[in-house]
């Protein structure tokens, strides 16, 4: 048993629903009690879809348990096939149905639906989670549909350069984009355009928008692009093994990764590397100019971004990409890197090692919040959960990964991948920081008449505001509430009013860190009261 307050991932059958709902012509019969139908609203409310996910639930009740739930399963399957006339049928069960062992997949297989492809999904609900369920479902569905095309063992692997002899443009599949993924809709458009500009076609995009017949065309491509490893990793490896289809594994998020991705695609397809992708004398290639990020990042206005301390947490794909962009392309200092994707723990660990930070593999959001508090960053790049944690801690935050909220499904075009994705990332990460800076300036200029009392920034009431801190240090300011800076260590330590006042002069986004360091220093020296002298002693001590 494991105590969970908020959870990063749903159960594996929700992952299966993501695959079914992403596609056309697929229907999913889910043996599940009433109540599990809540999952529909993930699609109709969070993703704001205009149709119900293609799922028929058996919604069995307690009174059914005494009777024949297997009969209910068969009736639901028969109804769904008749009503929706799917081109492929997924059959599975949720956590409760798993316990009553009706084996709906086997039941469906025995119902005589002729040529209808039926995929029996066995997703262990008590040991696996949503992304695993999505990956497994995608793999099982494609495997079922491609069974008739399986090459004989020992058959020669297809040549990724056969497009040349066949007198056509090279083509690749984009695998992994799905509903409830982070900005998949726009990433697909961006990467399709980008590849098209180099004369490379996209054969199949799946699961997003694909039909079963499209999945059957997967082997017609020269290579696969594993766009979202969490969802497509299992399938891409299988296609590599069984069909000999090579796979591009670089995820094109950020300038460096986009260029590396394009080089990998070109080399895999035996395409000549265009001049604009070749590194110049300064290591910069011409293609980078397709994005504003490199220039904006070099511009003088960005100087203040230097060494900003940033904490990164999300799914492994986005977290690893974010850490790389933050450290190399924006000049931040990554002070924390973590993910809830245990399946990709190895990749995340090596990314963390490269950056010299301790990797955090956890699905306990309180542990993540504690790690953020400990690292005292100036910016958090995380999920919706970290956005709330950051708000509590008074730190600016940008959302980079699922789990998401309706606000992460924007109406505008906002990819994360490719050169346009880099532009979007620059804006969406730097703006919260500038808001933080604005906060600081408001604190600095609080005596100016424009900055009247009661000014509220975007951080709202939860954030410790600089003026409140000053007011607390000067008790003369009537009615001001003491600042709610959380004491990070319990103990007999106290701050003198003069020490507090000095502390309040420090920009709020590093104040937590300074407070903690100073208290640690004071404890080490056996000080009971921290005054301004102790603060400067500590400052000198830690700057060494």
């Amino acid at each position: 048993m494991e105590l969970t307050l908020w959870t990063y991932e749903g159960p594996p059958h929700v992952g299966a629903m993501r695959i079914a709902a992403s596609m056309e012509g697929v229907h999913y019969v889910l043996h599940a009690p009433q109540g599990d139908t809540y999952a529909d609203l993930l699609f109709t409310m969070i993703e704001r879809r205009d149709k119900r996910p293609p799922v028929t639930y058996t919604t069995f009740q307690a009174r059914d348990l005494g009777g024949d739930t297997a009969e209910l399963v068969k009736r639901s399957i028969a109804d769904a096939v008749q009503r929706f006339e799917p081109e492929a049928l997924l059959v599975g069960e949720s956590c409760t149905a798993e316990l009553i062992q009706d084996q709906p997949g086997a039941l469906a297989a025995g119902m005589g639906f002729g040529a209808l492809p039926i995929v029996n999904l066995e997703l262990p609900a008590y040991s696996k989670k949503e992304n695993w369920g999505a990956a497994e479902t995608f793999y099982q569905l494609v495997r079922t549909l491609l069974k008739p095309q399986l090459p004989a063992p020992g058959a020669p692997k297809p040549d990724p350069a056969r497009w040349r002899t066949e007198g056509r443009r090279p083509r690749v599949n984009l695998l992994g984009p799905s509903l409830l993924g982070f900005r998949c809709r726009d990433d697909v458009r961006e990467i399709t355009q980008l590849l098209g500009s180099y004369g490379i076609d996209v054969a199949v995009v799946a699961p997003l928008g694909a039909r079963p017949a499209d999945l059957q065309r997967i082997p017609t491509a020269d290579a696969n692009v594993c766009l979202y490893p969490e969802v497509a990793g299992t399938l891409c490896s299988w296609l590599e093994r069984q069909f000999g289809i090579p796979c591009v594994r670089t995820v094109p998020i950020g300038i460096g990764a986009t260029v590396a991705f394009l080089r990998e695609v070109h080399s895999l397809l035996d395409l000549e590397l265009p001049a604009e992708l070749q590194p110049g004398a300064d290591g910069v290639c011409e293609a980078e100019r397709r994005s504003r990020l490199p220039w904006y990042s070099r511009s003088v206005d960005s100087t203040y971004l230097t060494g900003k301390r940033v904490f990164v947490f999300g799914d492994a794909t986005h977290a690893i990409a974010a850490a790389r962009i933050a450290s190399r392309e924006l000049g931040f200092q990554v002070v924390g890197l973590g993910s809830y994707s245990r399946e990709m723990a190895r990749e995340l660990r090596s990314a963390a090692a490269e950056l010299g930070v301790e990797p955090l593999i956890s699905d306990d959001y309180l542990a993540v919040e504690a790690a953020i508090a400990e690292a005292a960053p100036e910016l958090v790049l995380g999920t919706q959960m970290e956005r709330h944690s950051a708000k509590r801690l008074g730190i600016p935050c940008a959302v980079i990964s699922t789990p998401l909220h309706v606000q992460d499904v924007p109406a505008r075009y906002a990819p994360q991948m490719g050169f346009e994705g880099a532009n979007v990332i620059f804006d969406s990460w730097v703006h919260p920081l500038m808001m933080g800076l604005e906060e600081h300036l408001i604190g600095m200029f609080r005596h100016d008449f424009e900055f009247v009392d009661g000014h509220r920034s975007h951080l709202g009431d939860g954030a410790p505001s600089p003026s409140a801190a000053t007011a607390a240090a000067a008790p003369a300011a009537a009615g001001a509430a003491p600042v709610a800076a959380p004491p990070l260590h319990a103990g007999a330590l106290s701050w003198s009013p003069e020490g507090e006042a000095e502390l309040a002069k420090i920009p709020f986004f590093v104040r937590g860190k300074v407070r903690k360091n100073t208290e640690a220093f004071a404890r080490e020296r056996g000080l009971a009261v921290i005054d301004s002298e102790a603060l400067y002693e500590a400052k000198a001590h830690f700057s060494r």
């Binding site: 048993m1 494991e2 139908t37 009740q61 307690a62």
Partner: protein
């Protein structure tokens, strides 16, 4: 108005038999009730003993919108727990100890049963007893089921309240007991009005502090503030309370009838009731008039969800002039609904249970102007050109009482006004 009560008993005969439906249900389970109960009793914690699905459900139903550390959580069963039950009990004890250490402010801990815990027959009543011994004097541990195989979403509150009833002290003192979660401001207002009417002692279940349970006994007259509390009503009657039969406090008419039924039970003269309530009724009707203009003549279809459907249909048809196409309810408790059913217009088609596909076919056939439905169905229906109202919003919003009648109507008028306001030509 009070005189109309007498004529109602026979009126139900005018209703055609309800459609009994059985098929896929599209309803939240009882766990969802945690989302409003934890706000009502901030010193209580709700620990679902269930699966990752349960945790995900509550998170999705609450939206990722609670900024403080939530006062609910899930003890997620893993493969190891399913292997042997003794193990699961030990694990539960360990988690509860861990939770109480982290959250010393918790006074009442609800162990909430879920589908998987019911199916594996994890005995949470026994677990609650055991935990009560372990943490005696520190926290009270209770249990109820919010499982989807047993309950639809508002039934969760019915279960939670029933868990509290055995702990209520006995008293034969004369008092009015309001059962059902109300918004604090609405509750204050209603209690104030009852006192103006001359009912001195008014208590509430659930209380605002989980440990300050009201007393119950032969002097208790029970008035249901929510229509979904069948089990709670029965259990309180078993403790000696007398159930006051009344329509529910939605709309001007329903709220007035509700309060005057209580007044009658306390022997308060109708003239006193009229002097207190009639000015409110007059004001309430005035406030309602603009909403009625939007709603009158519009056709309404209510899908079964919250158990509020029948009282809302009564309000929207009688006071707002809407035409009822179909009124669905997850289950029909004829006793608790008798007063409401009598007020429905003749010929109103009720349906009990759900077969969501068939029901949606009827919705499409009828093309109502407004559909009341769960969150999963709202956007798809909007995309088909029908205005919708989320039923869960009605459980969260302060909609009880005469003063709230216009606000309640506004919740239904807004989707229609919005559609009318939009133009992309």
């Amino acid at each position: 108005m009070a005189s109309s009560i007498a004529t109602r008993a026979s009126a139900e005969a005018d209703l055609p038999p309800p459609l009994k439906e059985s098929g896929q249900r599209e309803v939240f389970c009882g766990l969802t009730s945690i989302v409003w109960l934890h706000r009502r009793m901030p010193d209580a914690f709700f620990l679902v003993v269930g699966s990752r699905t349960c945790a995900h459900l509550i998170q999705s139903a609450a939206g990722v919108m609670i900024f403080a550390e939530p006062r609910f959580g899930t003890a997620i069963l893993g493969e190891r727990d399913l292997a042997g039950l003794a193990d699961a009990n030990e694990e539960l004890d360990r988690l509860v100890a861990q939770l109480l250490e982290r959250r010393p402010e918790i006074r009442t801990l609800f162990l909430v049963g879920s589908c998987p815990s019911e199916v594996i027959k994890l005995d949470l009543a026994k677990a609650a007893e055991r935990l009560n011994r372990q943490h005696a004097g520190r926290v009270m541990v209770l249990n109820y089921s919010g499982s989807g195989i047993e309950t639809t979403f508002t039934q969760g509150e019915d279960g939670a309240l029933q868990a509290l009833i055995p702990l209520m002290p006995s008293s034969s003192e004369q008092q009015l007991l309001l059962a059902g979660t109300l918004a604090d401001a609405v509750e204050d207002r209603l209690i104030g009005l009852f006192q103006k009417l001359g009912i001195e002692r008014v208590a509430s279940l659930p209380p605002r502090r989980s440990t300050e349970l009201p007393a119950v006994g032969p002097g208790t007259k029970l008035l249901l503030a929510q229509p979904f509390l069948s089990g709670t009503a029965r259990a309180l009657v078993d403790r000696g309370a007398e159930l006051i039969r009344a329509p529910y406090p939605f709309g001007v008419e329903g709220s007035r009838d509700w309060m005057s039924a209580a007044a009658a039970a306390f022997g308060i003269a109708p003239a006193q009731v009229a002097s207190v309530l009639d000015p409110l009724v007059e004001r309430g009707q005035r406030a309602l008039a603009p909403q009625r203009e939007t709603l009158a003549g519009k056709r309404l279809f209510l899908l079964p969800d919250s158990q509020l459907e029948i009282p809302l249909a009564r309000f929207l048809s009688r006071e707002c002039g809407m035409e009822l196409v179909e009124v669905g309810t997850p289950y029909l408790d004829r006793q608790l609904m008798a007063e409401e059913l009598a007020l429905l217009p003749a010929g109103t088609q009720l349906s009990e249970g759900q077969h969501v596909e068939n029901q949606l076919l009827r919705v499409r056939e009828q093309r109502p102007d407004l559909v009341v439905c769960g969150l999963g169905l709202a956007n798809p229906l909007e995309a088909e050109g029908m205005a919708t109202k989320w039923s869960i919003e009605l459980v969260f919003s302060p909609i009880h009482g005469i003063d709230q009648a216009a606000d309640l109507a506004e919740l239904f008028a807004r989707p229609l006004r919005r559609r009318a306001a939009l133009s992309f030509a």
